[in-house]
Amino acid sequence: MNAWIAIALTVAGCYGVKLLGLSVPAGVLERPVVRRLATLLPVALLAALTAQQTFASRQDLVLDARAAGLAAAAVALVLRAPFLVVIAVAVVVTAALRAVTG
């Protein structure tokens, strides 16, 4: 049930902002500070989410194989690997480390 509530809210919210952007007259939301904030918000959210999903196990901070996987993904990104390759590198390194360390 909880998942359905979250999904319904996300669907409505995400579609709503897309339609709003296409529909409002130009200039209404075009204030520089609003625009800066809109480009920086995803940066903050994605950075926090990356860190949490790498170092968190529920409410605890942990250091496990995922950290190695993410480090490998970062190297792949620096080498300009395509999106799917970056994901694959993270998955393979994480799995390999778990297999080795048991």
Binding site: N2, L9, C14, L41, V43, A48, V91, A95
Partner: protein, 243 residues
Amino acid sequence: MAQETAPPLEEAPPSPDADRRAIRGALGVGIAVGLSGFAFGVTAAGSGISLTQTCLLSLLVFTGSSQFALVGALAAGGNPFTAAAGAFFLGVRNCFYGLRLAPLLRLPARVRPLAAQWVIDETTAVTISQPTRRTARIGFVVTGLTLYVLWNLTTLLGALGASALGDPAAWGLDAAGPASFLALLAPMLRTGTERAVAGLAVLLGLGFLPVLPAGVPVLVAALAAPAVLYAQGRRTGRKEVRR
């Protein structure tokens, strides 16, 4: 600086060559990114939501980072409202993409509700790089359609594949979510401002994780954006006063 105000699109006569170039570019982006629905399908299946829910997210939300954030928050046991809030804030940037695209595409009012679903990072990047309104529309439609079809197809395949594999952690699939966030984030870290925001957000997101309910620390971390902007505003404000 000239890029700040979009140049008025010339109504140049249609050229098959320009059309082909637009289609080729759009297909490249659409196919490459469309295939990453597979990563979402796998991640969503590992987070404990059903196959129907996974596919509905790709069909109806159709903006990758929000989808990954939502399933991540649900997997962490967050309450539905904070989970949806995180996903929503990530989706807000599409509003600003819409603002940029509207004058380029000049869509009739009745098509807007349909076109709106395709207003995302990739379609925007392809559309704003087009020289004419005709190729902008071609770029938007071809990118949007290719990405929409592939993203949904690969979401389904990923979710089905993941449930066939069993425990996602044994295959390292729990690293797919954070790796995709990192891949989405990397191209955004262009200047010191973005890096400062990212660094502060990591500290806030991890620092508050043990003490606040699941899902809330991400929202606290979002405050890194206004905080850095404010600090910057004060610095430049002081400089101007000195002058």
